[in-house]
Amino acid sequence: MNIKIVAFGIATDILKARELEINIKDGATVEDVKHYLKATYPPFEKLASLSLAVGEEYRADDYIITKNQEVVIIPPVAGG
């Protein structure tokens, strides 16, 4: 299935894009997408943390992503 990836902060620099579409197995989880990202873009391995959000909420590793969902990469936050 295809899913849309949206990047912020340093993730934009790593992907060299704000958004991209990836093809991943049906029923992929948040953990699967993290593996995909780290394998495809090794700089993700070096970040202090890596979270994914779906539907404007942080999602746990076992969260199952469905077709056409937008997955947002949340690298270490630094507000304040």
Partner: protein, 140 residues
């Protein structure tokens, strides 16, 4: 009566606005945290900052913090204003103001709010130096 005021702003923040929002006749103590841009990070001179936010989720996470404050503390009102975009030296990055009947709770609640904001709210900060730039906290 609305007790929560959450804003992401691409203009100068003014702590007086947050304080005015939270002031009410049931509360004797208002504690306000103002986070400003420091000139030096690890010995390097900062030229300016750039804040980027995943806006809808940032608003949602800041609202969660405010609701937690109203549940966990005897707090009546809270304002959280965060800057986005380009910020010069000494500019204000964030203002959090909490009003409680008693001061001890206001200190605890305000500190909880900024500590949690720095952990959960999807906002990123890039420091721009004369010789480069860095996304703050990205690497261990």
């Amino acid at each position: 009566m609305k007790n929560i005021d959450i804003q992401l702003l691409e203009r100068n923040l003014d702590s007086a606005e947050a304080e005015a929002f939270v002031t009410n006749e049931n509360c004797g103590g208002i504690v306000t945290f103002v986070g400003t841009v420091r000139k030096f990070t690890k010995g390097k001179e900062v030229q300016r900052l750039e804040f980027e936010a995943y806006e809808p989720m940032a608003i949602k996470e800041m609202t969660k913090i405010a609701n937690q404050i109203l549940e966990k503390y005897p707090a009546f009102r809270i304002a959280i204003h965060h800057r986005v975009g380009i910020l010069p030296l000494k500019g204000i990055a964030v203002v959090i103001s909490v009003a409680c009947p008693h001061r001890k709770d206001a200190f605890a609640a305000c500190q909880f709010a900024i500590d949690t904001l720095k952990e959960t709210v999807p906002i990123w900060k890039k420091e721009i130096f004369t010789d480069g730039e860095v996304w703050v906290a990205a690497h261990p």
